[in-house]
């Protein structure tokens, strides 16, 4: 994999909003088949980084290379699932997922993917009739059905309960493997990051503070000793050393609170 050229490369990316420095220096290489999880505190610039990767936001300085070439404007390899879902209120669940689908063969999969996210019986509901978690799953289905080369997920499961979350993890993992996608997942949930990603990237003060490779085999079991060790290691990094005393205690809550 290392010999292959990365499909997307960020070089020395910096992003300011007015006076505010959000990203200072981000270098990241994304290879075909990668599953990268981005974690960090709220407001540290995770969504901004994803938007830069999708080509929705131009970096203040630095370079974005797609397949080795400098890129401006929308990144055509990428489909992003927005943090706030962004369903069209005037389209039912089915039609929301159908947005922008051009091929008949893809349209035939709409029902199937909605079943997979557990909404097979809600095809004709309006978004305003759905719960927050259901809306998120529609948005997730909409991003997944395009089978993009680069799948960008911005906290796709934030509003879900622990159980549905694990189901969605299985679904994402399955599709990622089957369709050989490259995925980047922003999450607040460190366990989620370790469960899915082959690399966890921690952002702190506008920089990548740590990149942790996760070499556990899929599907990953949370009771694996290495799993909890990695989760703790990452949490400690994010929280500074405040949690040192908890490190030995592996009875962490199943879902990391925000």
């Amino acid at each position: 994999m290392a010999i292959e050229q990365p499909i997307v490369k960020l070089l020395n990316i910096r992003k300011d909003f007015g006076e505010k420095e959000v990203l200072r220096k981000i270098d990241l290489q994304i290879h075909q088949g990668d599953f990268i999880a981005i974690v960090g505190k709220s407001g540290c610039g995770k969504s901004t980084l994803l938007r830069i990767l999708a080509g929705l936001e131009a970096p203040t300085s630095g370079r974005l290379l797609v397949n080795g070439e400098e890129w401006r404007g929308r990144n055509r390899l990428a489909k992003i699932m927005f943090q706030d879902g962004r369903l069209l209120p005037w389209k039912n669940v089915y039609d929301n997922v159908a947005i922008g689908l051009k091929e008949e063969s893809q349209k035939q999969q709409i029902e199937q993917i909605l079943q997979q996210v557990g909404l097979g019986d809600r095809l004709h509901s309006w978004p305003s009739e759905l719960s927050g978690g259901q809306k998120q799953r529609v948005a997730l289905a909409r991003a997944l059905i395009h089978e993009p080369k680069l799948l960008l997920l911005d906290e796709p499961l934030g509003a879900l309960d622990a159980l549905t979350r694990i189901e969605m993890h299985e679904l994402i993992e399955k599709l990622w493997k089957e369709k050989q996608l490259t995925a980047i997942l922003v999450t607040h949930d460190v366990e989620e990051a370790v469960a899915l990603a082959n690399r966890v990237v921690i952002i702190e003060e506008g920089r990548i503070a740590l990149e942790v490779p996760v070499r556990l085999p899929y599907p990953r079991h949370r009771d694996h000793p290495l799993f909890m060790k990695l989760v703790n290691q990452i949490l400690n990094k994010i929280l500074g050393n405040k949690r040192m005393t908890v490190e030995s205690n592996s009875n962490l809550p199943a879902v990391e609170s925000q």
């Binding site: 489909k79 927005f82 395009h146």
Partner: protein
């Protein structure tokens, strides 16, 4: 329980009607002030038999419809163009906003000078009156489409007409429909004024004619007809709204 809630809103109108009829027949209410309800009904039947009433109602409805279509159509198109194109907006919007400040009914004298009392005068005024609410609401509706939805559409590769049809237009529709209902109200007010002052047919003309011959029942009938037509067009607009924006939370669980 259910029939009670259905009947309750009708109690006061029916009570009033009865009081009116009774006080007119026992002479408390002079028929010079208000004709009694039964007289109005018989005036309506007579005029319907003679064919005058259907003809006048048809004339007025046609004027309302055609004037609304011209004014509303133009307002919609310009609102659309100015909502979408910055250049056209810069060129046209401030001029339109300036003209908007002239109350269209104040133009009545000059409109009579231009067109006489023919059809054009009425159509012109109705079109002018309906243009602005529909223009403004269309323009505003398109301008206030949630940019995050446009961005989403951009990611999912909607462009040109499909972007307009799937995202911009439905987003602006509730606002446009508010303009339509507003414009319908203006349509009838404009017609009432224009037909009463300058017309040789239509409901307003019928009323003014009857006034000269002291036919109070016909005058009141005309007023009721206007009220009825106004209510009717509002109901149609409401039904259209319910169907067109049935996704809107305010139209669910009804």
């Amino acid at each position: 329980m259910k029939w009670k809630t259905k009947i309750l809103p009708w109690v006061i109108p029916i009570g009033l009607l009865l009081t009116w009829q009774v006080s007119a027949s026992i002479g408390i209410l002079s028929t010079r002030v208000l004709p009694n309800p039964l007289d109005i009904v018989s005036a309506a039947t007579n005029l319907t038999k003679s064919g005058q009433l259907p003809a006048d109602v048809w004339t007025s409805t046609k004027r309302a419809f055609v004037g609304f279509l011209i004014g509303g159509g133009l307002g919609f198109l310009l609102g659309l163009v100015n909502g979408i194109s910055k250049i056209s907006e810069k060129l046209l919007d401030s001029s339109i906003q300036m003209i908007r400040n002239i109350p269209h009914l104040a133009l009545l004298p000059i409109v009579i000078l231009w067109f006489g009392i023919g059809e054009e005068a009425k159509l012109f005024l109705v079109a002018l009156g309906t243009f602005f609410p529909i223009y403004l609401n269309t323009y505003h509706g398109i301008r206030s489409v949630d940019p995050s939805l446009i961005e989403m559409a951009y990611v999912y590769e909607l462009k040109g007409f499909s972007l307009f049809w799937h995202v911009i237009f439905p987003a602006a529709l509730p606002s446009i429909l508010v303009g339509v209902r507003f414009a319908l109200g203006i349509t009838w007010v404009t017609l009432i004024v224009a037909e009463t002052i300058a017309a040789d047919s239509g409901i307003g003309y019928m009323a003014m004619n009857a006034r000269e011959f002291m036919q109070l029942d016909v005058v009141v009938l005309s007023i009721l007809l206007y009220a009825l037509l106004g209510k009717l067009s509002d109901m149609i607009a409401k039904i259209a709204e319910k169907r067109l924006i049935k996704w809107h939370p305010s139209h669910q669980n009804e």
